[in-house]
Symmetry: C2
Subunit: 438 residues, 2 copies
C-alpha cells in the first residue's frame, strides 16, 4: 500500500459539490448570455503573464497581493484582474482590432491576500468593456445599466438598484472648494459612508484639516437626495463655477435621459453622489449595484468610464467603459444569505434505468431519441438494486426517471416516473418526447 | 507621458483574435454540449494546489515541467492535468458524492516545458470520467466511443476513427513471452510504430536483448489486422495461456458487441492492438482517436479505464474510465491544417445602426424585440460614416445589418441589409422576427 498524501485544498479557494457547481454555472451562463445578447465578443487571455507587463500600472497593494514567481529566467505573475490583461491585449493587437472593441471575459484571477470571510484568493471575474478609438459615445454609459438590469432581472435575487454618478462632478466640486489635492483622500472617506456612518466621516474630514465650512458643504452635497430629475435640478442650481463640474452634470443628465429609452424599471436606477469607485482610474460615469434587501453584500456589479485604457503600453488614446461582477464572492454571499437554493431544475433532464444491461439496444434507442430532441440524458448502467438507482436519480437531481424492463421493450413503451409528484405511468415511445418537453 | 512597457505575452501561451476565439468557443460549447447530453455534471477545481498534493503520484518528467513556487510558507504548484485534481477532489469529498460519479471538467492546465511547434505551456483540457465505488460496469467502456463519436460528428472535421484496445491483452501477451519486466519499455517502443516505422521498432527491440523468436511473435501480434470480429477471432485462436490475456480478450469482445448497440457508423471504431497509452495508469480498455485524412495530428481524443483513481490519497478502491481532449493544441493544429475556417455564422446575429443617436427609443425597441426572440443584437452608437459602420459589421461578422433612419421610424419599419447577398429591403417591424429567424 502506497503512503497516503492528505487530500486538501488551499484556504481562500472555492470548490463546489456538483449541485452547487450547477447553480454557479447557471449564473455564469446567465451573465454570458446577456453579454452576448448585447453584442459582446468573447476574449480569453493567459493566466500567467510577464510580471513587469502586469504590474506596469500597479502600486503598493497590488504588488503585495500578487502571485509572482520565477520560471527559468522569467519573472512571472498570475493576473490579478481582467482589466490589465485587456489593456495589454488591446495594445498588442491594436492593428488587428476594429473599434469600438466590445469584449466580454469571464475567468479566474488571483490575489494572494490573507483569506478572510468571503474573500477569495482565486475568483471569477465577469467583465465587459467597450473600448473606443479616441472616443466613444455617451450612449454606452446608458447601455451599461441596461445590461446590469437584464442580468439581475434574470438571476432573480429580488429587487436591486443600480446607483450611478459622474466622477467629473466630484472632481469639479472639490476643485471649487480648493481641495483638489485632497480629492483622493476625501473620496476614499466618502466611499466609506455606508460602512462607518456620517459622524465618523465628519470626524475623519476634520482630522484631515478641512475647515468646518467646507465640511458642511461637502456633507450637504453628498446628501443631495430625490428623484434623478430632482438631483439633476439641484446640481444645476448649485451652479458651481468649474468646467469639470458643468461637463459632469451635463453628462449625467444626458445619460439619465438616455437610460429612460432603455425601458428599465425606474426604481432600478438611481443617481447617488457618494459613489466614487477607484481613485485614479475612472473619469466619467461610475456605477455600483446593490440588492435592496441585502445592502450588507455591498456592490454586486460595478464599473465606469475611463479616459485611457492603454496609457502604460502605447501612445494611442483608447477611452473605454466597462462593468465587472466578482462572481465567486457573490455566489458565496448569496448562498450564505439563502438566496441561492437548489432548484428542482437540474442540468440532466432524464435518467434512463435499464433493468438488464445485457439488452441495451432499446434503452440506447430511447436515450438517442431524447438526446436528438435536446434533452440531457443519463443512463444508469449496472445491475444494482432499485433503491440505489433512485438514490442516484435524486443525487443528480433529475425530474424524470425512465424504467425499461422486458415488458416495456415488448410493448414499445417506457415506465415514466415523475420524481417530484412520484407519479408513475406507462408512456408509449411515440408519445414520450412530447410528454417530456411539454 | 508615462514611460511605456512593451505589451507582450509569454511564448507557449495561446491568445486569439475575436473571430478565432469564436471558433475556439464553438468547439468548447460543442464538446460541453455532448458531455452534458450524456449526463455528466460540471466540476471546477482550483488552478493552484499544494505541491505535495499535486505531485503525490508524479515522477521525474512531471516534476521538471511543473510551475511550482512558494507563497508565504506554502509550497504551491499549478495543476498540470485535470486527472490528479479529480482524484484529490473525489478523495476529499468522498462522503458527499454518489457513485458512479460522472463529471466533466474543461479548464486550463500548465506545463512549463520548452515551447515547441504546437506545444503549449497553458492549454485547455476537456475531460470526462466516470468513477465507480469498488466497480463500474463495462457498459461505460462502450459508451466512451459513443461520446467521442458524437463530438467529432458534430465538430465536422471529416472522417475519424476511434481505435481501441485492452491493456490486459498486452500485459497477458507479454507475460506469456516472459517479458513482463520489459512490458513498459516494449509498449513504449510499440507506441512509436506510427512515427518511426516497423524496421526501427524491430531494431530497438533487438537492442533490448529480446530474442528473434519473441520479436517475431511480438511483431506478428501487433500486426493482427481485419474487421473487429476478425481480430477478436484471431486473438481467441492464439489461445495464449494467461489469465490476464483471456480476461482482456473477453472484455474487448463484450465492449465491441456493446458498441454496436450505440449505433455508431461501423467504420468509426476499430480495434488496434498497438495502442497502449500511459504506461502504468490504464488497466483495461484504452482509446485513441484519429482524423482519417490527417494522421499526422496524432490522437485527438484519448483515454481509458483505470483500476484505482485515488490510491495516493485514500484506501478506497475507486476504478474509473475517462477520455480527454487537449483542445488548445487540437485547435491550433486544425487551424494550421485549414480545417477550421471562419464561418459566416457569427456569434452576433444582427447589427442595428441608428442614423441618429439622439432618437434612440425606436432603435432600442427594435433591439429589445429581437433579443426577446433569442437573437444576439449589437447596436452601433455614434454618428460615424456608413463606411465605418459597414466595416464594423464585417468585423463582428454579422449576417444582417438593420438601418434605422427617420423614414423607417415614421413607417414602423427597418431597412434590412443581408451582408452575404448584399440585398437590401424594407421590412415592417411586424415581419422582422420571422424574417430573421426563418
Amino acid at each position: 500500500m502506497t503512503k497516503k498524501v492528505q487530500p486538501k485544498i488551499l484556504p481562500g479557494f472555492m470548490e463546489l459539490l456538483p449541485q452547487d457547481q450547477l447553480l454557479f454555472n447557471h449564473m455564469v451562463d446567465t451573465i454570458r448570455g446577456v453579454y452576448e445578447e448585447f453584442g459582446f465578443m468573447p476574449l480569453d487571455t493567459p493566466v500567467i503573464e510577464y510580471a513587469d507587463v502586469l504590474l506596469a500600472k500597479a502600486g503598493g497593494e497590488t504588488e503585495k497581493q500578487i502571485y509572482r514567481f520565477n520560471k527559468g529566467d522569467n519573472d512571472l505573475a498570475l493576473r490579478f484582474d481582467l482589466t490589465v490583461p485587456l489593456a495589454r491585449y488591446v495594445a498588442l493587437h491594436y492593428n488587428d482590432l476594429t473599434f469600438p472593441f466590445k469584449r466580454y471575459q469571464m475567468g479566474k484571477v488571483y490575489r494572494g491576500e490573507r483569506p478572510q470571510h468571503g474573500r477569495y484568493r482565486e475568483f471569477y471575474q465577469c467583465d465587459i468593456d467597450v473600448i473606443g478609438n479616441a472616443s466613444i459615445p455617451l450612449t454606452y454609459d446608458a447601455e451599461m445599466p441596461a445590461i446590469i438590469y437584464e442580468i439581475f432581472k434574470r438571476l432573480d435575487f429580488g429587487p436591486f438598484v443600480i446607483r450611478y454618478n459622474n466622477r467629473k462632478i466630484l472632481n469639479g466640486f472639490f476643485a471649487s472648494l480648493e481641495l483638489t489635492d485632497m480629492v483622493s483622500d476625501v473620496l476614499r472617506i466618502i466611499d466609506k459612508l455606508d460602512k462607518i456612518g456620517l459622524d465618523n466621516v465628519k470626524e475623519e474630514l476634520v482630522n484631515m484639516g478641512i475647515s468646518q465650512d467646507k465640511i458642511d458643504k461637502i456633507l450637504s452635497f453628498i446628501q443631495i437626495k430625490g428623484t434623478n430629475q430632482e438631483i439633476l435640478t439641484k446640481l444645476m442650481e448649485l451652479a458651481i463655477d468649474d468646467e469639470n463640474y458643468r461637463l459632469g452634470v451635463e453628462e449625467l443628465k444626458t445619460v439619465t435621459d438616455m437610460i429612460a429609452d432603455f425601458n428599465l424599471d425606474s426604481a432600478s436606477y438611481q443617481i447617488d453622489l457618494t459613489i466614487a469607485r477607484g481613485l485614479d482610474y475612472y473619469t466619467g460615469t461610475v456605477y455600483e449595484t446593490n440588492l435592496v434587501n441585502y445592502p450588507s453584500l455591498g456592490s454586486i456589479c460595478s464599473g465606469g468610464r475611463y479616459d485611457n485604457l492603454t496609457g502604460f503600453y502605447t501612445n494611442e488614446e483608447l477611452p473605454g467603459i466597462g462593468i465587472s461582477i466578482g462572481l465567486t464572492r457573490l455566489f458565496s454571499q448569496l448562498k450564505e444569505a439563502g438566496l441561492i437554493k437548489a432548484s428542482k431544475k437540474s442540468l440532466i433532464d432524464v435518467l434512463v434505468v435499464p433493468m438488464d444491461d445485457n439488452d441495451l439496444s432499446y434503452t440506447l434507442r430511447v436515450a438517442d431519441m431524447l438526446r436528438q430532441n435536446n434533452l440531457k440524458v443519463d443512463i444508469y448502467y449496472g445491475n444494482k438494486g432499485m433503491k440505489q438507482k433512485m438514490k442516484y436519480a435524486n443525487h443528480i437531481g433529475v425530474n424524470y426517471v425512465i424504467i425499461i424492463g422486458s415488458d416495456e421493450i415488448q410493448k414499445e413503451m417506457v415506465s415514466l416516473k415523475n420524481m417530484i409528484t412520484f407519479e408513475q405511468e406507462n408512456v408509449l415511445l411515440t408519445d414520450l418526447v412530447s410528454k417530456l418537453t411539454s
